[in-house]
Amino acid sequence: MTAGPARNEIHLLERELELELEAAQPRIPRLKLRRPVAFVLLVALILVAWEGAKLLGGTPWHAPGAGPGAPVIWNPPFRWTFANDLNLPHVWNIAYAMGQPFQRGADETLLQYLVFAALYTWREAALGFLLGSLLGLGLATFFVHSRLAERAFVPYVIASQTVPIIALAPLIVFAMGQGVLAVVVIATYLTFFPVTIAMLRGLRSFDPRALELLRSYGASRSGVYTKLRLPASVPYLFTALKIAATASIVGAIIGEDTGAIQQGLGRVITTFNQYYATGPEKLWAAIFIAALLGVTFFLIVRLTEIVALRNRQSIDA
């Protein structure tokens, strides 16, 4: 049998080891470079494929911003329709167009114009995102507390998303009147769904033994909700919010178009679409900015997630 003092020593040794192991864990998570590098490589690859297609089968190349009469600097061996300057403008021409006035005689460059439009759209999207997330959280909270309500209503929640938003948007605009409100409602409509579905799971993702524990403390339903269900669901919430962030942008853009909003990316995209033949670069630039807006919103949610979950590391037992 182990004698007392020897055992104490083992105890001390174990604790020392524990402390050492703990000290070895970096306090600030190391910046992971692999994913950003992969992202940059992917973007580079797309650009190479894009210009590669134009190199082989595009319209004869001119210097950036030069008119049709300018000297040809490269004559591609093939003529592919999809790669001509109308269908697939040069990347540098899109970039060049960004620096030019957005329309004849305008003071703002296309880039400035698009960034302002994007910020305007973002305001609507963010509002829809917020309302949709709250609605989703509220619905999921209701459903996890009532099996009956869950069975009765969840099919309708799912059905709501099978209706094309293009068909629904005019109805919402008609009901709400043209204006920002209708746009926000459309963004909300696209946002609440992922949050509802994810939180239906998230609010049930706790350890059942933790529920027994809370019951043994005599915790009420609301105590179980705030101390266990909600905190346990946070990882699920963020997964849903990341989807909702991009969905809310799509919703706002569609809403602006249908709702005849005079500002915002939706309007810009509609206009540039109409004038595509005379300036294809402008629509491509608008699409690029719209995508950038979605990615930015996504990254903001992702960063919030990293901060919110920084201390959480699941313990398996």
Partner: protein, 283 residues
């Protein structure tokens, strides 16, 4: 020392049956005709083979499982009332720490639910963590602790609101033998300092004998109490107690009681499939 034989029981169980409805209309009798009195300050272990219902019995006492028949009185109240009065502290085989809370905040959890004020919560958490010798780990997150340390946090959490009865369901089943022996001494020390009544479910005969005032031997199908062995080893107990002839006699006595009940229990106390079975039955 444990409560004397003549004091009124703190837990009074009479004629308790528990029948679980099976999946295909079948029924499993988890507990049958259980009568048991536990006196204040006693350390009672429930031991038995897989599926003997010892975990279920613990949950019946704690009002986490409703008995099919019979009654459980705690301090003259129903088990439900006792639960609402926060008479129970629970410790499971797994620590069940909330991984988004620091060690200190885990200990504060029951106090938050009880609506204690902030200063008191902080003071109490500090005291309890010192009691389990984790005073320097208050700000750590659960994942930064070893299994034994996590289980000590769970014990600190269970004791934080001064429950009258500590219900422990194989709390050290997942720990290695050395840590387990150390934790046994720790539990005895805490028990001695707090005077709490402890009901302790275990698979391990040596553990049950070393810790308990009484060992309740159970057998399976249906789960019932076959014997109660009084453990008259003098206290305080230490490694020396583990070497006395009386200790070995008592181990033999418990083992024979288990054999007589048709159970086969692992002497080393390694946890087995019983755990999953018991949990499956409860869930």
């Amino acid at each position: 020392m444990a409560g004397s034989a003549d004091s009124a029981p703190i837990v009074h169980i009479s004629g308790v049956d528990k029948v679980f409805a099976g999946r295909e209309g079948g029924r499993t009798t988890a507990l049958s005709a259980i009568d048991l009195d536990i006196r204040p300050g006693e350390f009672v272990s429930l031991i038995g083979p897989s599926g003997c219902g010892k975990s279920t019995l613990l949950r019946v006492i704690g009002d986490l499982v409703q008995p099919t028949r019979g009654s459980v009185q705690v301090n003259g109240k129903s088990a439900e009332q006792a639960r609402r009065d926060r008479d129970y502290g629970m410790v499971f085989q797994a620590p069940v720490l909330f991984d988004w809370r620091s060690v200190e905040d885990n200990v504060k959890l029951p106090l938050e639910i009880l609506g204690k004020d902030k200063a008191w919560r902080a003071k109490r958490a500090k005291e309890m963590l010192e009691l389990v010798e984790l005073g320097e780990f208050t700000k750590h997150m659960p994942y930064q602790l070893s299994g034994g340390m996590q289980q000590r946090v769970a014990i600190a959490r269970a004791l934080s609101f001064e429950p009258r009865i500590l219900l422990m369901d194989e709390p050290f089943g997942a720990l290695d033998e050395m840590t387990r022996e150390r934790m046994n001494d720790e539990v005895l020390r805490i028990w001695g300092q707090t005077g709490t009544t402890v009901v302790f479910v275990t698979h391990s005969i040596p553990e049950a004998v070393y810790l308990s005032s009484r060992v309740v031997v159970m057998s399976a199908r249906p789960g019932r109490i076959t014997r109660v062995v009084d453990i008259d080893l003098p206290r305080p107990r230490s490694d020396a107690s583990r070497e006395t002839p009386r200790y070995f006699e008592l181990i033999t006595e418990v083992r024979e009681a288990l054999r007589a009940g048709g159970g086969d229990v692992d002497d080393a106390g390694t946890p087995s499939a019983a755990r999953t079975l018991a949990e499956g039955a409860v869930g």
